[in-house]
Symmetry: C2
Subunit: 133 residues, 2 copies
DNA sequence: CTCATTGCAAAACGTTTGCACAAAA
DNA sequence: TTTTGTGCAAACGTTTTGCAATGAG
């Protein structure tokens, strides 16, 4: 029963590690471009295409999770984070983590269907933006 | 107390009506390009840019709702449809409507935040694809 | 040596925009 | 006339890909 905790992440190259590290170091989901900017601190010559390739690989492998927000370019977060959802503030564009998850989701799955994942995004205004408004 | 039922849809041009009609006539959310193809049956000379402009206007106005699915281009559906969510089958790429909605969503909103909308997407396999598998 | 990874530039894709023209008011 | 809408083609931002060079084993 000695199984790796770090998911199925096969051996990663130094660049791929740097990219995954960029996502792990961030306090919020990032875009591919943002991860590229972060990774360049460590590997200045890294190309944007390499980041896109790594993001695709890591997402397929299950090391990264892709988050879709209306009218925003996709963001990614490490799949090692505990299960949660997101609140997107339309005023400031920030994405907040929500730890709660509705218990009744299973009931929504139609008979005969098999749910693998789910995503919940709440849209509105954050406390700070409401105060400033 | 005589208010229009058809949301805030201001006066629409013939093309804009045709585009909205395309979404209303579809049995599932459509992409802008698909709406364009449908609208061309009625107005063969309509341009794709017109569809994109109309979709943006109609979405902003609240006549259309935008649906985001991981790795898919955005789809739209008439906002007049009763509240529901979606199940995306990764095997066949079809989007299914789910009428149920978890009652406890309010509890997920952080204190001080104001939720305007929410979106729930379930990912997995539909009954048909499971049978064929 | 062999094979996978990378940088770069070009291509592809979905979407937006500038502009001249047409339609509506 | 003034304003708004439209087609077209060009521009845009994001993502993918072809290919030669590099790196790992």
């Amino acid at each position: 029963m000695e199984r790796a905790v770090t998911s199925s992440a096969s051996r990663l190259t130094r660049r791929q590690q740097a990219i995954l590290g960029a996502f792990e170091g961030a306090d919020a989901p990032m875009t591919a471009r943002e991860a590229w900017e972060a990774a360049r601190d460590e590997i200045p010559t890294i190309g944007l295409a390499t980041v896109y390739r790594a993001v695709k690989t890591l997402t397929g492998e299950g090391s990264l999770r892709q988050i879709e927000i209306v009218d925003e370019t996709p963001r990614y977060e490490p799949a090692t984070r505990p299960h949660h959802h997101h609140f997107f503030c339309r005023a400031c564009g920030r994405l907040f983590e929500i730890r709660k998850c509705p218990p009744s989701l299973r009931d929504m799955v139609p008979d005969g269907f098999a749910m693998e994942d789910h995503s919940i995004v709440l849209y509105g205004s954050c406390e700070e933006c409401l105060a400033t408004a």
